[in-house]
Structure formats: C-alpha cells, structure tokens
C-alpha cells in the first residue's frame, strides 16, 4: 500500500523482512519488561528453594512474545505520530516496509503463541493477567487514553507496572501483597520517568497532537508533579522493607538511590533546564534497574 515511498525502493530480502518484524516488537522495551518479570519470578521463590525451570523459561518466553505483540500493535496505531516525531521516524511502519495487515497477522501469531505457552506451561492465571495487560496497553492506553487525557501515562502506567506481578503469578499461581508492592513501585515511578522525557520533548508532543501534561497544563505544573510523584515513589520503595519482604541491604540501596532521584526532582522543580530533564530521564531507567537488582541481591544474601 505504501510502495511509492522513497525509502522502500530496494526489494526487501527475507533477512531484511525478519529484521523489520523484529524491530516492530521494540526489543529494547520488551527486554526491560522481561527483566522486571524475571525479577518478579526470582523474588517469588524463597532463596534456597530450587527454581522450577520449565515454568520459568516458558513464562519468560511467553511474556516476551505477548509484550512484543503489544509493541507491534502500538506501532500500528501510532505510525502517523511516529512519522512526525524524530525519535520514531525510522520505525518500519512509517517507512512503509511492512503494511498494516502484515503487522496485525504477525502480532496475532506471536501473541497467540505467547498466550498458549502461558496457559499450557505456566498457569491460566498468568495467561489471563498477561492478556489483560496486553488489552490494557494495546487498546485502552494506546487507543483511548493516550490521545484523550494528560493522565494517560498515569493510568496507562498500570500496564507497565504489571510485569513483576506476571512473574510472581507465574511462580506461585497467585497475586500476593508482595507482588502488588512491586506493582506500586513501578506505577509510582512511571509519571516522573515519563514527564521528565515529556518536559524536554514538549514541542514534539504538541506537534504530534498528544495531550501530554506539559502540553496541556504547562511546564511549571509538570515540574511540580514530577517532584510530588517522586516523593510518592520514594515512599513506596520503603514498603518492601516495612512489609518484611526485604531487609537492610535493600533499604539502604532504596534510600540512596531514592535520594539521588529526589535531588534531581527538586532541581527540576526549582531550576529547570532541558539538559537536567534529559539526565533525570536517563537516571530514572538506571534507578529502576538498580532498585530491582537490590531487591534481588537482598533476596539471596539476606
């Protein structure tokens, strides 16, 4: 359907096609999702107890496949927006290298295999939670919330916060308060993480017609929200210790990592610059990885 685009002139070979479809699954985002899910799995099994390897492997692959399908659907919905924004212009759909129907079929097959794996080799609860997360992200967030309200990433953050819960339920066939604490941490982390990005990309979001908070409510209000959500986030990272799910190693790490995040958030509020927002955004990713690593270290050493 998009044959006439200048960048699509070389006839794609098989290897190139595979590479395009692979790119549709947003491998970098998916690997972060899988990382969080695997940590959820490891935390769910008490240290010293042998890990059930088959469900662990099946859940990892299954969650990765469904997440990849969700990413492909997201690419499909946003090809117009992606074409406008510099960061996403090079994705396969805006370039016309794969078409919409191919993407849908691809997502159905990949997602279907993922759900089948989860249902048959892990447990139905995990399959349903993963399907609900998929619908929450690919339909409710991408189609409804994102173009409609500046609260999009706050509500949609629920989908992003699900991976550790999915990992947890894969191992225990249940959703316990421990798993919900991990959910809460990522849920509270999403707004400062995302709004730091939105602050230095406000113009691009405005151009794409997306009602991100800095576009609708201004930069100053967004900076305040970043600070407030960071406080909530730091407070919720203390809960695993309070709940006796983690020990001192985790508490010290959470406090130190959180102090750095708070420092950035306060500076964003009082003396904003685009450079600072960029640093904060990068730090927020590092922060989450290290925080979860700390949970893991604490789980095995303490």
């Amino acid at each position: 359907m998009n044959q006439s685009l200048p960048l699509g002139q070389h006839r794609p070979g098989l290897l190139n096609r595979v590479r395009q479809f692979y790119a549709l699954t947003k491998p970098r985002v998916v690997s972060l999702i899988v990382f969080c899910a695997v940590i959820g799995m490891l935390l769910a099994v008490p240290a010293g107890v042998a890990l059930p390897l088959v469900p662990l492997f099946a859940a990892t692959v299954g969650i990765a496949l469904v997440a990849g399908a969700a990413a492909a659907i997201n690419c499909l919905v946003e090809q117009k927006i992606d074409a406008v924004m510099a960061r996403t212009r090079g994705r396969p759909l805006p370039l016309g290298e794969v078409n919409s129907i191919e993407t849908l079929v691809f997502a159905s097959i990949v997602g279907g295999i993922g759900l089948w794996l989860l249902n048959n080799w892990v447990n139905p609860l995990t399959m349903w939670l993963t399907l609900a997360t998929f619908v929450g992200y690919a339909v409710i967030y991408t189609v409804i919330l994102k173009p409609a309200t500046p609260q999009n990433i706050v509500i949609g953050g629920a989908s992003g916060a699900m991976p550790p819960v999915l990992g947890w339920s894969a191992m225990t066939d249940s959703v316990t308060p421990d798993a919900l604490l991990l959910f809460l941490i990522i849920f509270a982390w999403t707004p400062p993480h995302f709004w730091a990005l939105a602050l230095y990309r406000t113009e691009e979001y405005a151009k794409a017609g997306l009602p991100m908070l800095p576009v609708t409510h201004g930069e100053k209000f967004t900076r305040l929200q970043v600070l407030l959500y960071t406080i909530i986030m730091v407070a919720s990272t203390l809960l695993p210790f309070v709940y006796r799910m983690s020990g001192w190693i985790y508490l010290v790490s959470a406090v130190l990592l959180g102090a750095v995040f708070m420092y950035y958030a306060v500076r964003i509020f009082v003396s904003y610059s685009d450079k600072l927002a960029r640093t904060t955004f990068r730090y927020s990713i590092l922060y989450l990885s290290l925080l979860f690593a700390a949970l893991l270290v604490d789980h095995y050493l303490a």
């Binding site: 499909l76 919905v77 117009k80 919409s100 017609g209």
Partner: protein, 334 residues
C-alpha cells in the same frame, strides 16, 4: 463532574455486565430466589439460616452461600449503577445549557436502566426463562452502548472529514453494529440455553458440516429453560441448532468486521479505532474457539462476554465518530 460521572458509570456498567455473565455462567442466578432482597434480608449473611435450610433440603441445588453472594454482589453493583445513572440524568437536565448537549440521551439511558432492572427481577422470578435472561444480557449491552456514546460525547476528538471516497462509511458502520448485535443475541441464546457444548468439536460440528438440527424448537422464544413450549425436554438437535447458528454467525462477523476494520486502517482519524476493533476481534474469535476446544471452562466463557462488551464499545465509538463527522456537529478539538 458530569464528565467524570459518565466515565465512571461506563466503567461500572462494563463491570456489572461481566459480573452478570459470571453469575449466569456459574449457575448462581437463583442464588437468592426472591427479588430485590435475599430471602427478604439485606445480605446473604442475614439470610444464613434460610440459605443453609434450602441447601440442606436440596443438596447441589441452586442455593448455596457462595451463589447467594455472587447474585447479591451483582445486584448491589447494579443498584449503585442505577443510582449513578439517575444522578447523570438529573444533571443532564439541570446543566443542559452549560453542557451544550441534549439531555435526551441521558433520559433514554435512565429508561433503559429501569427496564434492565425489571429484566433482572424477571430473570429471578420467572426461573431463568431463556428469553428473559437473554433480554437481560441485551439490556445490559444496550445500557453499555448508550453510556459509551455519552462518554464519547464528553471527549474532544480531532476533526474528522471523511471525504467523498468514504461514502460507504456510515452504512458499513451501522451494518457492522447490527451484525455484532445479532451475534451477541445469538451468543446470549447459546449461553442461556446451555448450548455451548451443542457442537463439541472443531472445526466441524459432530463430525459434519451440517449436523442434524432442530431450528423450530431451538429458536422457539417463549418456553422454559431446557423445555419445549409444551413442557417436553429440549432435544440435542435443538441445542445443536442454537450452537451452530452462533458459529455460522461468528464467520459472518469475523469476515465483515475484519473487512470493515482493515478499511478503517486507511483513514488516519479512525486508524487507532480500527486497530482496536481488529485486535479485539482476533481475541474474541480466539476465545470462542478455545471455549469449544477446552470444553467450556468458566473463565473463558466469562472472558468471551467481556470480549463481546469491548467489541461493542469499540464499534459504538466508531459509529459515534462516523456520524458526528458526517453531520459535522462535534467538530474542532477543544
């Protein structure tokens, strides 16, 4: 305030519909045999004596404590929804100038929810007569559709000018809605007649493309559950006819909505909704196939109802977009 109430009511309606399907599928519809209270009491807890007596008299019967709670939970949230809709209708009239919207949609909504309450009561008092239970399902879907439309009115949408090439759009959108509504009615008929296993195999039915079927009795509307109008037991052929019709309907829906959705992908303003429609369609057909393959597990059947509700919501929003564009009433982003 009005906006938020409408959104909240829409989400709550979705929950009430799915919980209602769960009550129906777990055979808890007669968990409390009277209406509106449970053995004349406010909660099953207060009616514990009556419930344990009924359970002792008829072990494995329709009344247990768990079933009574399921049924009453559905009634509580449905009543909460009724209250919300009354408030919405009152606000729609009182604030009709500020809102700049006709209050009639909210009024129709109030009428629909009242009728739906009555259907809920009849479901219980008329002993799960299939026509009434199916009507209760369709009533729920109607309330959901009206609220989805009202919600869509509260949002600001980018301008959508379909252009001359899309003259087919309004007719196709309406037809899609009609096809889906027909399939939901058939699905409700399958469920309320316990016909989900009428064809136990896939892709054929009882090993045949067209098995022996009895449409006359299967689609006789006025009769009791599991019986023909004259009180004789309903035959397998009648159940097969009901199931087979829903399967044939699924093929029509899949092809038509699939075609419609893929056409929407080419219109920038409707692409996202088209993707949503196609994704939900794939999930819904997948769940439907899995129900037969896995012999009707409860969670799949409940999910099939949730999928139908989501598909309906997507199509209602698509219709809203199509019809507000052609009439150019809600133009311009806020």
């Amino acid at each position: 305030m009005f906006r938020k109430l409408v959104f909240a009511a829409t989400v709550l309606t979705f929950i009430v519909v799915v919980v209602g399907a769960f009550v129906r599928l777990s055979d808890a519809g007669l968990g409390c045999p009277d209406w509106p209270l449970c053995y004349g009491k406010l909660t099953p807890l207060h009616a514990a004596d009556e419930i344990s007596r009924a359970e002792a008299e008829q072990p494995g019967g329709p009344v247990t404590m768990a079933k009574a709670w399921k049924e009453m939970f559905h009634r509580y949230i449905a009543k909460l929804l009724g209250l919300l809709i009354i408030v919405i209708a009152v606000l729609a009239w009182m604030k009709r100038r500020e809102l700049g919207q006709s209050p009639w949609l909210a009024t129709v909504l109030l009428g629909a929810v009242c009728l739906q309450g009555a259907f809920g009561a009849w479901t219980v008092t008329m002993m799960l007569m299939p026509l009434i239970v199916t009507g209760h399902l369709l009533g729920g879907m109607t309330v959901l559709s009206l609220l989805t439309w009202l919600s869509a009115q509260q949002l600001s949408w980018p301008v959508f000018v379909p252009g001359a090439a899309a003259a087919w759009l309004p007719r196709a959108a309406l037809l899609a809605l009609a096809v889906l509504a027909g399939q939901i009615a058939l699905g409700g008929w399958v469920s309320t007649n316990y016909a989900a296993m009428g064809c136990p195999d896939l892709p054929l039915c009882q090993g045949q493309l067209v098995p022996p079927m009895d449409f006359t009795h299967g689609f006789q509307l006025l009769r009791d559950l599991g019986k023909k109008a004259d009180g004789e037991l309903l035959t397998l052929e009648a159940l097969t006819a009901i199931h087979w019709a829903h399967r044939a309907g699924a093929i029509v829906v899949f092809l038509f909505l699939g075609w419609f959705g893929s056409k929407l992908l080419k219109l920038d303003a409707l692409r996202a909704l088209g993707v949503a429609l196609l994704v939900l369609l794939c999930i819904q057909v997948g769940i439907g196939l899995a129900i037969v393959a896995l012999q009707l597990p409860l969670h799949l059947a409940a999910a099939h109802n949730a999928g139908a509700a989501l598909l309906l919501m997507a199509l209602v929003v698509i219709n809203f977009r199509v019809f507000s564009a052609t009439r150019v009433v809600h133009s311009g982003p806020a």
